[in-house]
């Protein structure tokens, strides 16, 4: 319940300020304080016509010069590298389709979030192929056959058995080979009339890459402790499949691939993810950039319903003015294309007016004289 003296400020002040007043201000002085806070709030609002984009660009660009330029690694046995610092910032702002180190943070439901069977669960998430479940591959040169011994211990951990593996292999190699189960071993023989040793060697390499279980795209898993919870950090990302697993807390698990988030969770989630990712980089670098700048960038990137990078193919290509586009990158291309289709420049924005030595629609340049008829 909001204090009576605060009610008139609902809608005038942001909800976080109202909440703070509610919690910290003594009720007797509420009216006076609220009035002063409101005054102060109005004074600190940015004035209409202020070049906010320019300020954001400077505020992100300057600390950007101080960021580390290299990739570094997690300490520990299972090392995993993650792009950080300036390269990561560039990657996010350019809205790259394929990022250099996709990772996920997978949160788990109880009791697994307290560390129960965390290794087993991590192994189940990881993409497993034949190479890692097979102990060895033996080629019988005389009969042109191949024998594989499976690692029973590993299979058990992955909730598999040799029968299942045989089925998987049979399906994957339906055209090329027959797979038969012989005790603990799998016997693989070539199909077709003409058989030679070369083919068999090729088959051996192909078999090693056959997908057995786990989630496709997850190349590495690393269980770590984050505050109270045990979570799994992965190399490689596949949100859709991870969300379908019953032991995963799909309300908290995320990826660092913005395009994937957009595809699975929508544009608004992608916007929030851009802010989170940028903020994380800025904070780990020990820099101080106001979130408002990052929010402005994220909003601009997501305004069209798609994620547009801050590049000549992204947000810049959306600009209405030919001259503004030409002044950014590849000027000749833009000018030629505009002249071919007869594009009109209405000179509504800043850059084109600077070029033509006219007042720019910013600050005091934005207001026009209106006369009463």
């Amino acid at each position: 319940m909001v204090h009576a003296d605060l009610k008139e400020y609902i809608g005038k002040l942001p909800s976080s300020i109202i909440q703070e007043l509610e919690e910290t201000c003594p009720a007797s002085k509420m009216k006076k304080v609220a009035k002063l806070v409101h005054e102060e709030f109005e004074n600190s609002r940015i004035s209409p016509g202020e070049a906010v984009g320019l300020i954001s660009a400077e505020s992100i660009g300057e600390p950007g010069t101080q960021m580390t330029l290299n990739t570094f690694h997690f300490a520990g046995v299972a090392e995993m590298s993650v792009t950080k610092g300036l390269p990561r910032i560039i990657e996010i702002l350019d809205a790259r389709k394929t990022i250099s180190t996709p990772t996920m943070e997978i949160y788990l439901h109880a009791p697994y979030n307290k560390g129960k069977d965390i290794r087993e669960i991590a192994m189940r998430i990881k993409e497993t192929n034949m190479e890692s479940v097979a102990k060895d591959f033996a080629i019988n040169v005389v009969d042109l056959k191949m024998e594989t011994t499976l690692d029973a211990e590993k299979l058990e951990k992955l909730e598999l058995n040799s029968k299942k593996v045989q089925k998987i292999l049979e399906k994957a190699l339906a055209k090329e080979a027959n797979v038969e189960l012989n005790g603990d071993k799998l016997e693989i023989s070539l199909k077709g009339k003409e058989k030679d040793l070369n083919q068999l060697y090729k088959l051996k390499e192909a078999i090693k890459d056959v997908y057995v279980c786990g989630i496709k795209g997850i190349k590495q898993v690393l269980p770590v402790r984050r505050k109270e919870d045990y979570i799994i950090i992965t190399a490689g990302s596949n949100l859709k499949k991870v969300f379908e697993l019953d032991f995963v807390d799909s309300s908290r698990s995320t990826s660092n691939d913005i395009h994937e988030i957009k595809k699975i969770l929508g544009i608004e989630a992608a916007r929030q993810a851009i802010i989170d990712e940028l903020l994380q980089v800025v904070e780990t670098q020990g820099l101080n950039v106001d979130v408002r700048h990052l929010m402005l960038v994220a909003d601009t990137m997501c305004i069209s319903g798609d994620i547009k990078g801050i590049t000549r193919y992204g947000v810049v290509s959306e600009k209405a003015s030919v001259l503004a586009r030409a002044s950014f990158e590849t000027p000749i291309k833009h000018l030629i294309e505009a002249s071919v289709i007869g594009e009109i420049d209405y000179l509504n924005s800043v850059v084109e007016n600077v070029m033509l030595n006219q007042p720019v629609p910013l600050g005091t340049g934005m207001v026009k004289l209106v006369s009463k008829k």
Binding site: P14, G266, A269
Partner: protein, 80 residues
């Protein structure tokens, strides 16, 4: 490994979305004297949960780091 149905509205990153009624749309456009709004595609996964159609305006209540809650609007467009 058993599978489960995943609700995207439950996710931490997804803010609350709702479709505006016709009356709300007119007052919104009048109050802010807007000609156009930011957009979202009809194929956006959240549209399925809202049963929205092309031309609808979606109200989004974001959890803002600065303002606590902030309201944002998007118009649904067909895919380009």
């Amino acid at each position: 490994m058993t599978e489960k149905k995943f609700e995207i509205t439950q996710h931490r990153l997804v803010p609350k979305h709702s479709v505006l009624s016709e009356k709300e749309v007119t007052t919104l456009l009048k109050n802010y004297s807007l000609k156009d709004l930011p957009k979202m595609h009809l194929t956006d996964p959240i549209i399925e949960t809202l049963k929205a159609k092309e031309g609808d305006i979606i109200r989004i209540e974001r959890n803002s780091l600065t303002a606590g809650k902030s309201v944002f609007y998007r118009r649904v467009i067909a895919n380009a």
